[in-house]
Structure formats: C-alpha cells, structure tokens
Amino acid sequence: MSTASRSTETRDWEAIARGAALSGTEGEGVESIRELLSFRLDDSPYAIPVERVREIVRLREVTHVPKVPDWVLGVVALRGEVVQVVDLRMRLGLPARERSRRSRIIVLHGDDDRITGVLVDAVDQVLRVSEEAFRAVSSAADLAAVTELCLQDGDFVSVVDLDRVLELRAD
C-alpha cells in the first residue's frame, strides 16, 4: 500500500534498532540503564524495550484474515515467513487513523513462533533511560497495556507492556 519512496524525515531505523538489539544491554556494568525504542501513536510518544525488536519494516500490503479480533490487521510476508500484524492503536483503544508514509511495522521476536508485527504511526529513536526516570502507573484500569511511564526531557513516554498487548483473552 504505502510504497512511497523514503521521505527525508525518515532515517534508517532498521539499522538503529538492529544495532541496538545486537549490542545488547547486559555485561556493561551499567545495570541501571534501559534501552527503549520510542514510536508514536497520534502524536504521543510510546516505547518498548529495544531487545524485543527484531526489525522495523515499512508498511506493506497486508492480507486480511477473517475471524480474528479486529486488532489483528492481517498477515504480511517477511523473508519467507508469514506474520500477523497487530494494529496497536486498535489494541490500545485509540481512534482509527489513516496510515501515512511514516507508518511502520515493528517486528518483535517471539517465543514459540509467535513472531508478531506491530503497526505504529511512526518510529522515533532509541532511548537510553536510567532507572530513576521510570514511574509506575498507579491506576491502570483502561491503560492496562501501559504499566509504566518514563520521563524524557520533561515529557512522559508510555512504556507498553508487550506481553499484555499480545496476550489473548480467554474468548
């Protein structure tokens, strides 16, 4: 669908994310630093642990799948694998929005062949955040997927708990 040429504001996030994922976070003796990949839904910043990220790809043609929850957008082919794509806006209960040239699929590692693509509006950068900057979310009724926030240059970034996002309800 969105096969427009690479826009000027888009940098090579694939390289950034992959490099960060490869370098790893352990073994440097700085246990209090966490690395997050930040992205946007609407204009709000969100983030996920960078080590969960396998790669970031442009939005490509998604094949619709019947009889699945509406937050599963469909499936895409990724180098010989067929992977489900979760519409994160839909999953977090945000209003639908047109996809743009900046829309990206963040591909997550998955145990047990549960590799998953997550559709976001735009990918920002890799954040290195010290433990002190994290704040737990106190009342998490309708924000169940966001369990903590991290303070970044005076703004709060919502850290998405991927296991909750991808967890299936009993139905």
Binding site: T25, R52, T63, V65, G80, E81, H109, G110, I115, T116
Partner: protein, 731 residues
Amino acid sequence: MAARRKNANARDASAKKPARRPSKSSTSEKANREFVSEAEEILERMSEDLADLADQRQTRNEVDPDLVNRIFRSAHSLKGLAGMFGLDGMGELAHHLEDILDGLRLGRIPIGSPAVDLLDDAVALLGVLMGDLDDADAQEKHLVEVSGLIGRIDAAVATPIPQSGEFDGLSLDPALLRALTEYEEHRLRESIRRGRELSLVDSTFEIIAFEEGLSEISSAIREIGEVISTLPSPGAAPESQIRFSLLVATDLPAGRLAERLDLSGVSVREVLPGTATEAVAVANVASAGGPTAPVAAPIGDVRNSQDAKSIDPSDPISAVEAPVAEPSEIESLRSISDTVRVDIRKLDELMTLVGELVIARNAIAGIASRLALEPDTAKIGTELTKTHRLLDRKLKELQAGVLDVRMVPLRQIFEKLSRVVRRLRRDHDKDIVLDFKGSDTELDKLIVEQLVDPLMHVVRNAFDHAIESAEEREAAGKAPGGSILVQAFQRGNHVVIEVVDDGRGIDPDRVRAIAETQGIVSPDDILTDKEKLDLIFAPGLSTRGEVSETSGRGVGMDVVRSNLAALGGVVDVSSVLGRGTTVTLTLPITLAIIQALIVSVGGERFAIPLNAVLETLLCEPKEIQRSEGREILNLRGEALDLRRLSREFGLKGGRQDGKQYVVVLGMGDQRVGLLVDELHGQQDTVIKPIKGPIRHIPGIAGATELGDQGVVLVIDVSFVIGDAARRKEAA
C-alpha cells in the same frame, strides 16, 4: 521502591526472551521427540530383557548368552543414539553398560548380584535422564549420579574372575581352537564346566545357498543347545560347495544329535574330552603356544599347517564366519553404514527452497508469455518458454525426490500400536487379536509423527470399549476372542487408515439421547443415523465416561478429529449395531508442497488444496435450493450441501450476474460445495504456518506466497466440510 524492583524483574524476564530463539526451541524439541521415541523403545526392550535375565538367573542359575548379547546390542544402539544427539551423560552411561555386558558375555564378570544390580540401576537412571531431557538443571544434577554409577561399574569391571580351564585333551583341531574368539572360548569353557556334550557338526552347502542352509541348521541346533562357533572348514569340497564346522554344545551325545538334526550333507562328530589322538597332541602344543600365537602353525604335519592357514581369522575365507556367527549384529552395522539419518528440519529447509524455486518458475512463465506476445521479442519468448519447460520438468523431479525422502512406511507406527496392545492384553486379560494390513503404505514423516497419538487413541478405544467381554460375545453368538484390524492404503493423494473392530457397535439413538441430555442437540432436531453417529465427535459429549460404556466408542473422539484436522485430514465413523465399528482416518500424503486452486470472494483471494477439490462448476442462483435453512444443489441426482465462503468468513461476496462458482470439496466420504465468486487457476504452493499472537485461526490452514500476488490464505478444508454437529452449533 517496590514497584521499581518489580519492574526491574519484569525487564529481566523480557530481556531474556529474545535470547531464546523461537525457531531453535521448537525445532530442538522436534529432534528431542525423535530421540525420545527411539530411546524409549530401546530402554523398554532393555528392561524387558533385564527382567528375563533376572528370571533365568533365579530359576536356572544360568543365563541365555543370546539374551546378554541382545542387551549388549541395545546398550550399543543407545550409546550411538545419545552420541548423535550430543547427550554426553547418557552416552557415557550406555558406554559403561556395554563394559559390564561385555564382561558378562566373556565370562570376566560373574552373573551375580553386583553385575545385575548395576545393570538395573543403569537402566533405571537412563530412564530418569530421558524423563528430564528438557530440564537442564535436573540433567546437571543427574550427572553426579551418573558419575557415581560409572565409578561403581568401573570397580566391578576392573576385577575380572581369573580365566581357568584350558582345552587340553579336547579332541579338537588346534587350528580350530586358535580361530575361536575370546567370547567363543568363554562359551566353550562354560560348556565344559557345565558338563555339556560337545560335538563338531560338519556340513556342506552349495555356495550360492549356504546362508539359508547354515541358518537352518543353526536354528535347529539352538532349539536343543548352543552353537559355540561356526567356521568354514578347509576339507576337500567340490568347487561349487563350501563346508562349515559348527562347534556345538548340547545335552545330547553326538549320536542322538545326528538323529535329531537329520539333515542331508551333515555329519556329526563327538568331541571327546581328553582322548589321546593325534589331534590332542597337536592341541597341547597349540595351547602351550597360546591361543593366538602364530608360532603354533608350523608345528604339526603339513596338512595341519594348511588348515591353520585357511582358518586364520584375517583370511578372507574365514572372515565368512563373522556374518554367520552374529547375523543380527552385522546387519545393524551394515544398516548404519549405508543409510544416512537426516534431521527432518534439513528436509523442511530443502522443501522450502524447492517451493521458492517453484514460485520463481511461475514468474519466469509469466515473463516468457509476455515476451512471446511482443513481435520484437517473440523469438526470445519462445526460447524462454522452452527453457522454462525444461526447468519445470527438472523441478518436478527435484520436488518428487525430496518428497520421496520424507516418506516413511506406516510400519513404524503399527509396531508401536502392537506393542501397546500386547501390554494391554497382558494387563487386562482380554483376548483380542490385532492385525495389520498395508504396513508398507508411506506417509510424510511429519504426518506419521503426528498420527501416532490419534491412531493410538482409536485403537485403545476399540480395545477398551468397543469389544465386549468373552461372555457377552458368546451370548451374542460371536467368537469369544475379539479382533481389531488396522489397514492402510493409498487412495489418490490421500492415505486411508481404517480401524475395524468386531465389537458391539454404536447405537446411534443412544448417542443422540446422551447428546440431548447434554444439550448438544435439541429434542426437536431431526437427524439421520449418520448424523447421530457423528455426534461422537462433538466436543463435550465425548469426554464423558458413561457414553463410552454404553455406546462403545467416543472417548476423546473430538480430540482425534481436531488432531487430524491439523494435518489436513478427516476422521469418519461407521458402525453396525452388534457387528462392529469402523473408524476411517483420511490424510494427505504430504503437507510440504501442494497444488492449490486459487479462488476469490469479495475481492479477496484464497487457496484451496487441490487434493480436496473434486470438481468445479458454475451455477445459476435459481439452481440453489433451500431445505431447513441449508442450501443444497442437485448434483447429478445427489443432494450437495452448499457453504458460502463469504458467509463463513464474513465477507461481502457475490457476482454482478448473480451466478456462483461451486467448488465441490471431498474428503473421506464427505462432500460439500463451496460457493465462491471467481476461480483463478491452479498453483503450486508451499503452505506456511501463520506466526503471531493468534494460534489457531478457524477455517485457515496456513498461508502461502504467490509470486507477485502477495500472501494468500489457505483454506482448511476439513473445517469447511465440518459435520452435522458443527452445523447445528452454527445454526
């Protein structure tokens, strides 16, 4: 603070996840399963043999040497298997098991309590190791036990009993004595100690048929005694013949043995202990020189030295001895040398590659026809088409070759079934005969693996529930013993496996009654007998014990059905009350590459495995008739149930002209017509699993990439076909 700590932990947990690569964990599981099934079989056999060994030792104070040899071979196979899968602890233990067994075989260790206890302990520990295969921590812990046990084994093996009793005075050719292996010497010594009669059986065979002749005479002797050694005999024989000398220990004197064997071309000579003959003199010299000393050969007369030469173990002629003496051991060695074990994952990779080549080939075909249409490039286009055809042919051969490698005969599962039924028969004291037909029928290795459980389930059901007690059977005028027949055969692109019993059969009305009490059907539903019978596959009904007692079938049949559906197969049941039940499993031969029919509904494309498509037709709206909310079509006089793909998948379907294509699907005995908007021809496809949070998408068997058309979902035909129970559910 507490919250942060919790977060830190959560992070640790999530940080670990990517390190555990998904594909690796699931594939090594697969490899483990393969290992486990084979190792379990070996261990099972070992413990049975060990039980026999303990029995023999107690009752006869003597042990059948063949039994020890068999256990030795089991330990050897297990060692090889463990080595192949890199399980060092297990391999090491099996290796030391071999040491004890070798000691027992050669009489270096007495068959007494320390040795037998060590064997028992080792086999038990191997079982424990197997059980905790996936648990690295437990394995670590067990290693301590392993090394402890190995220490005990080493100690036992290190103190051999002194070998005593020479063969002085035996009226045996010294050359023959020299050719005996250590094991054979031990057996000879053992036989003398027990005071058994020794005889030398000479027999002459035609060279072309000597193997059968030898095995015939050997097995005749084994019935009454033991063949200590089989050696080619040098004596004058015509060119086309070969002579063998068998050194035999029995409880019969030579004369009686000759009568007993009564075979042509066989002569029996008594081997006397301590008879002073020429041979004895030579024998003395020979034993003085030691059993393997080559110096002994020149002593004695000319004939004897020739004898010695021709019996030298390194001589190619006497090497014939080996396959005869230990036929099964040699056989297993041979099978290791000319077959290659291949990890099924490697074949999967090859298959995927072939599949991708097929997609590329389709693209080339497209380019070729485009080129052929342009006048400028028509010539090149034609050439490309020709090359494409060659590529196509070779690809098909490659595909068939890879598929062929994945095929294994059903015999593997049948043997497992027969073992289970043997055990059931012993435990339940039920006289039921299990027969197999078509065990050479081949199926994809992966399917065979997945088939074991459901098939076992069906056979167990037949054994436990379908077949009546002997009294009940006699009252019904049947033979007291029941029978279960498992037969397999190929039908087109499918393999059919039928489990036929001659038990009490299933009463459809009772199944229905029970289904009603459980709310699966309502009392108003009108069902045919077939539909009532099919209720045994309904989830919920089948898990209830009392149903199995009264209906004779049905425990976990819903599980069997879903297991088969996962393989793209179906299960069907038919029954005659009082006469028996037949459960039919229908499976595709392979899952790897399939031909698919591409259809579309509401603008979305789907692939349907072609092996399930019987025919396609275009029908007018008025041809579709309705009955009880079902849509049916008159297909050459038969009522064909119709299903709309648009409705199944919640899509906006339909063509402007109102017509519909009908894809007639068939699997097992079931037929259904699937209504779609358009047909788009056939394609070779590789079905891939769909990865992601949703494990099982109803109605979808997987997905496939179609060159330029992106990802297309593959329809699960067994879901569409469904059965009476599901249709009720949906309605």
